[in-house]
Each structure stands twice: as structure tokens, then as C-alpha cells.
């Protein structure tokens, strides 16, 4: 299981960016389809260590932010830099876990077929998926506890297992920065534990992980940094100093305060006592 990381951590000289460029640098990003922009003049510089959560109410532009970072939606203005370079040059460094509902799971493919898709970028045009890549994909399924399901058709998997297959596919990309859109949405407890374990492994292996996260109760437990988003950036920084009654109120408006969320209430109380 550590094979995956040891492969990458033995970096060749000049392999990675030498300058301490931020994994993700977003400047003045605006995405608009209608009168109200989805994202409005968003500035964000991701820290190079620690798991990052993007938090905000429904329709706050969290998914759009991720898609704009990946160049999947056209932006009106602004720039996105990954490790100091424009997106086009950094594709191979980026891993992506889309929302589970974004695909048709009745597709004729096995869990291994989907995980192997993470390797397609390295394989390149018109070449088949070789044995080495299939084995790498299988190892990634093993990392998320899905090795026994490698040959199962994806439609026969539970929601949590499908989420883990998506995570395995992203692991197979062997990226340095991962964007994940709601990896904890609608999964069972075992999957939630498996996913957070993988995220922590990625973090300790020096990877950057940016997750859209919907569950305020677990933000403080799972993540080190938080980006509070509601069309514009409300606040960003370490969870401890950023997630408090005032910023939550500004993010969610009057709809939700920390008192509504036991996990955050506990966190805010601890922060206040300290």
C-alpha cells in the first residue's frame, strides 16, 4: 500500500517545483452565467500542508470553485495557478474526485476499469491499459478496501463503495494536489473512516487535498484548514482560528449558527476557553 507513495516521494532533482510555490493560487476568480455570479472575485492561496475543507451553504459555488480550478467551467476573469504555473502545464499533478451523482453507474464497467481510468493520463493517446497500470489501479482499490470488488460491475456496488472506487481512481492518478467534491456525501460509516484514513495518508505523504465538505460537525475533526465560501470568500485559514460563530454566521447568513451544530459548538467553546 505504501508502494504508491514511495514511488513518488523518491523525487528526482528538478522533478518538482523548487520554489515554495503554493499548491493552489487563485486570483480574482469570477464565474458568472446569469445576473448573480456563482463565484465573485475569489482570492485564495492554499497552504502547502494540512487537509483543506471548502465549506458553505447550498448554491455557494463550492463545486463551481473546484471545477473552475480544474478548468472545467469557463471563468469570466481571474487566474488559477497550480504550483506556480498555469493549469495546462500542471494537469498531471492534479487528481479529481467528482460528485458521485455526476455519472451513470449502470455503465458497463468494473470497479477495476474505473480505477484504471486514473492512469489514462499517463498512458496517453490510443494505447491500451497495460498490465503494470492495471496492477497499480488494483493496488489503489486495495488502499480503499475495495480489492475484493475489483471485478464487480459498478452498478452492483453500494453508494459508499462507489465513492471509494472514485477515490481509488484519483489515487491511481498519483497526483500532488487532489480536488474532491463531497467525498463524504451519503456514505456509510466504514467508508467515511476509510476515506479519512486515505486523506490523512495523502497529507502525511506531502500531498495537498482540497475537499468540498457539507458536514459542519466533522470539519474541525477531519480538516486542518477551511475555506468558507459563499459566492465570495468569507474567511480562510486554519480551522482553529477561522471557524467561529461570527464567520459561520457571515457564511450561512441567519440560517445557521454554531449553536445548531454540536460539533462546531464544542469546537467553538474549546477555542474560546483556550
Amino acid at each position: 500500500m505504501d508502494m504508491l507513495f514511495s514511488l513518488r516521494s523518491g523525487q528526482k532533482p528538478g522533478d518538482g517545483p523548487a520554489a515554495p510555490a503554493s499548491p493552489l493560487e487563485v486570483r480574482d476568480l469570477t464565474v458568472a452565467y446569469n445576473r448573480k455570479p456563482v463565484l465573485w472575485s475569489v482570492d485564495y492561496t492554499a497552504p502547502s500542508q494540512g487537509l483543506i475543507a471548502i465549506v458553505g451553504p447550498n448554491g455557494a459555488g463550492k463545486s463551481t470553485f473546484v471545477k473552475a480550478c480544474l478548468g472545467l467551467v469557463p471563468s469570466v476573469s481571474g487566474s488559477v495557478k497550480v504550483y506556480g504555473s498555469p493549469l495546462g502545464k500542471r494537469r498531471s499533478l492534479i487528481g479529481y474526485v467528482p460528485q458521485r451523482e455526476s455519472v451513470d453507474w449502470d455503465f458497463p464497467a468494473s470497479a477495476l476499469d474505473v480505477a484504471a481510468m486514473g492512469r489514462y493520463g499517463m498512458i496517453g493517446w490510443c494505447r491500451p491499459v497495460g498490465r503494470a497500470h492495471r496492477e497499480a489501479a488494483r493496488a489503489c482499490l486495495d488502499r480503499v478496501g475495495m480489492a475484493d470488488f475489483a471485478d464487480r460491475q459498478i452498478g452492483q456496488l453500494s453508494g459508499g463503495q462507489q465513492q471509494r472506487v472514485f477515490l481509488a481512481r484519483a489515487l491511481a492518478q498519483e497526483a500532488r494536489i487532489y480536488f474532491m467534491d463531497e467525498p463524504f456525501a451519503g456514505v456509510d460509516a466504514a467508508t467515511e473512516r476509510a476515506v479519512i484514513q486515505v486523506l490523512r495518508d495523502l497529507d502525511s505523504a506531502g500531498r495537498t487535498v482540497i475537499c468540498v465538505h457539507h458536514d459542519l460537525q466533522t470539519v474541525a475533526d477531519y480538516f486542518d484548514h477551511v475555506l468558507l465560501l459563499n459566492t465570495r470568500v468569507v474567511a480562510a485559514g486554519p480551522v482553529g482560528s477561522t471557524l467561529n460563530a461570527e464567520t459561520l454566521h457571515r457564511t450561512y447568513g441567519g440560517r445557521l449558527g454554531p449553536a445548531d451544530v454540536p460539533g462546531v459548538r464544542k469546537h467553538v467553546a474549546e477555542a474560546g476557553a483556550a
Binding site: K67, L70, G71, L72, G88, R91, S92, I94, Y96, P98, S102, V103, D104, F107, P108, A109, S110, D113, V114, M117, Y120, G121, I123, W125, C126, R127, P128, V129, Q153, G155, Q156, S158, G160, Q161, R169, Q173, F179, D188, A189, A190, T191
Partner: protein
């Protein structure tokens, strides 16, 4: 029509010309099956229908322009160029409408399909009023006519179909990724728009070369029906492509043969009827996803659950709720005179143990899902590893309160 003649055509022994036509149409069916599979999975089946209907005004216009320029209006390359032009125009119109307006894509498809086809019909009626006396061939593009094909045309069809097939094989990985998850593909840096256009282009190619044989109304069937039928047989993409290719090839082969024998029979209709029969057979009898197999599995499962309940009940002195179940157990030799036989008692005890272990498994390992097992019915010793079964057996009867 004597049977010998039919056999001769089917086995390519009825002369070189018809052999080439039949083989060419079979190649077309193979290519359409493979490309259509990707279109089906990309959820673009109806776009290819609009594409084929949109070729009609192009064919008519090409005829008019060529005739006005003093050329032979019925020249095949000219007509196909016209078909290609207006077909592509139709697809672009659909994309423009769904991109720049809030109309859903199916509305755009309906509008473009009918308007283009309407324009084509009007132009065709106009051509018929002209005194050139040379327009008769145009109508065969609507329903297809293999009898009118010569060997060079058939060879060209076969060659282009095989080229399209080769492109699909080369781009198998790219098409699979695009059809399953275009967002991920784009995130990985694949030019999804260009791959999409390539797939559309191959569909256009198959449509245009299929105009003569299958006709523009029914070419959609060759692109969609064999892949839809193939989906019933398998959960693997490559297998689906192979099966769709075989079914498409058979449809083209039989359809072209029959149409060559009966010159007034439109080839397109015959090909589609063959494809439709193969679809019906797959829909009913395919073991993986067919209706009969699914119903059979469900019926067997229901019987197994009912039998388990009845046996457990009898073990505790309760007779089966239904007379049918009583009869069934008597037939199976498990019940005699409303009481369990020795064999029935063994079956009931083992069934009760099996169910208890399954219940414990469900409670203690709620997130584990064993293979394709039928919960509570399949013998648990055969589904779960030995040590897990032993662990389940050792668990206390009463769960903690």
C-alpha cells in the same frame, strides 16, 4: 423465389456483385454496432437520429446544384457530400440551440430533425416536378435499396466502415472515459470536445455511407438497436462492443441478402426487422439482463424465502400458511401427513441455522457486502470465509440490550 437461390445469396455464391454488396452491408452493420454502442453510452442516440434526417435537404440540394451545373445529378459522391454537409449542419444547430438557449437538448433535437427533414421533403417534391427524368434514384436514400448498388460503391462502403471501426478500436480507451465521466476526462487534460467531435464524425461517416443501403430514416436503428440488444448480454464494455458488432453484422448480412433477392423490398426495412428480432430475442432471453432470466431469478428467490419460512414454522409446530407450499414440501419429500419427515427436519434445522448466522452477520458487519449472494438463502458457509462463520457461531445468542 426458390430456396436454393436464397441460400446462394446468403453464402455469397450468387455472383460477385451481390456478394460484394452483402459483405459491404455487413461491414456497415459491424461498424454501426461499435460506434452506436459509444453513442448509446454517451446518451446521444437521438442526436444520431437527427443527424440522419438532416441529410435529406443536403442530398436534394446537391442534386439540384449538380444538375444546374450540367453535371450528372445522381453521381454518388456529389449526393453524399451534400448529405455530409447538411447532416453536420443539423448537429451544429442542435449544439447551438442547447448551448445558447435554455431549451433542453431533446427539444432542440426534435426541432432540428423535423425542420431539416421537412425542407428535404419539399425540395424532393420540387425535384419531382422537374423534367429531368433522372430523379428516381433519390428516393432510395430514404428507405435504402441495395439492389441499386454496384460493386465499387459496395467496396467503398466496406472500406470506410472498416476504417471507422479501426478508429474506434484505437480510441477505445478515450471513448470509454468520455462516455463514462466527461468531467473527469477534462480534469485529466483530455480534449473532451475534440474526442466528442471525433465520435460524432464517425457517426456521421457511418450514417452517410449507410444512406444507400439502409436509408436515412432507418439508419438510426442500425446504430442503436444492436448496441441496445448487446447491453442485455453483458456488463463489460468490450464484450458489449463485440456483441453489438456481431448483431449489426448479422442484420446487415441478412437484410442485404433478402433485399438483393427481392428488388422491390427496401433494404433498410429488412435490415431493421432483422436487428429488431435480435433485439427482441436479447430482451427476452439474454442471461445477464434479459426479462426471462430476471423473472426466473426472482421467482426462485421468492420460493426459497417462502420455503425457508414454512420449514422453520413446521419445526416449531406451525403448519404452512398456504396449501401450495404444503403441496410443494410434500412433493420434495420434506413433509408427510402435515409433519416434517426426517429429511425435512434436517433441511429445516440447517435452514434455521443458516438464517440465524445471516442475521448475526447483518447486525455485526452491516457494511460488509458479500459477493453475489442471496441474503439469508444461500448457505452461509459457501459465501463467507470459514473463520468469519466460526466467529458468527461463537457470538452470544442475545445481543447486548
Amino acid at each position: 423465389m426458390i430456396p436454393d437461390e436464397i441460400l446462394a445469396t446468403l453464402t455469397l455464391r450468387a455472383g460477385f456483385n451481390s456478394a460484394v454488396v452483402v459483405a459491404g452491408t455487413a461491414c456497415l452493420g459491424v461498424a454501426a454496432g461499435v460506434i452506436g454502442s459509444f453513442m448509446l453510452l454517451r446518451k446521444r442516440a437521438m442526436v444520431s437520429d437527427a443527424l440522419s434526417h438532416a441529410t435529406l435537404p443536403g442530398i436534394a440540394l446537391a442534386f439540384l446544384i449538380a444538375t444546374a451545373l450540367g453535371m450528372e445529378g445522381r453521381s454518388l459522391p456529389v449526393l453524399l457530400a451534400g448529405a455530409l454537409f447538411s447532416g453536420v449542419l443539423g448537429v451544429l444547430a442542435i449544439q447551438a440551440i442547447s448551448r445558447f438557449t435554455r431549451l433542453p437538448e431533446d427539444a432542440a433535437i426534435g426541432a432540428v430533425l423535423s425542420v431539416f427533414f421537412g425542407v428535404g421533403v419539399v425540395l424532393l417534391s420540387h425535384i419531382q416536378t422537374l423534367a429531368t427524368g433522372n430523379q428516381a434514384g433519390l428516393k432510395t436514400f430514404i428507405l435504402g435499396q441495395t439492389a441499386a448498388m454496384n460493386r465499387n460503391e459496395a467496396m467503398a462502403i466496406a472500406g470506410l466502415a472498416l476504417a471507422a471501426l479501426a478508429a474506434c478500436v484505437l480510441l477505445f480507451k478515450e471513448f470509454r472515459l468520455l462516455c463514462f465521466d466527461p468531467g473527469f476526462a477534462a480534469g485529466q487534460g483530455w480534449p473532451t470536445v475534440r474526442i466528442d467531435l471525433t465520435l460524432m464524425g464517425l457517426t456521421t461517416l457511418v450514417t452517410v455511407i449507410g444512406l444507400q443501403t439502409v436509408g436515412l430514416i432507418l439508419i438510426i436503428a442500425l446504430l442503436i438497436v444492436p448496441p441496445a440488444a448487446a447491453r442485455f448480454w453483458t456488463e463489460k464494455l468490450w464484450a458489449m462492443l463485440v456483441i453489438a458488432a456481431v448483431l449489426g453484422g448479422i442484420s446487415g448480412w441478412l437484410g442485404a441478402s433478402l433485399s438483393a433477392l427481392v428488388p422491390r423490398l427496401p433494404a433498410g426495412a429488412v435490415i431493421v426487422l432483422v436487428a429488431g428480432s435480435l433485439f427482441l430475442f436479447s430482451f427476452l432471453f439474454a442471461p445477464a439482463r434479459g426479462v426471462v432470466a430476471t423473472a426466473w431469478r426472482q421467482a426462485r428467490l421468492r420460493l426459497a424465502y417462502a420455503e425457508q419460512a414454512a420449514l422453520t414454522g413446521l419445526l416449531h409446530g406451525r403448519p404452512p400458511a398456504s396449501g401450495g407450499m404444503d403441496t410443494w414440501l410434500r412433493v420434495r419429500g420434506m413433509v408427510r401427513d402435515s409433519a416434517l419427515t426426517a429429511r425435512g427436519r434436517d433441511a429445516a434445522r440447517s435452514s434455521e441455522r443458516n438464517r440465524r448466522l445471516w442475521e448475526r452477520f447483518l447486525i455485526h458487519y452491516p457494511t460488509l457486502v458479500p459477493g453475489r449472494a442471496n441474503w439469508g438463502i444461500d448457505p452461509i458457509d459457501r459465501v463467507l470465509p470459514r473463520d468469519l462463520v466460526l466467529e458468527l457461531e461463537s457470538l452470544p445468542e442475545q445481543l447486548s440490550p
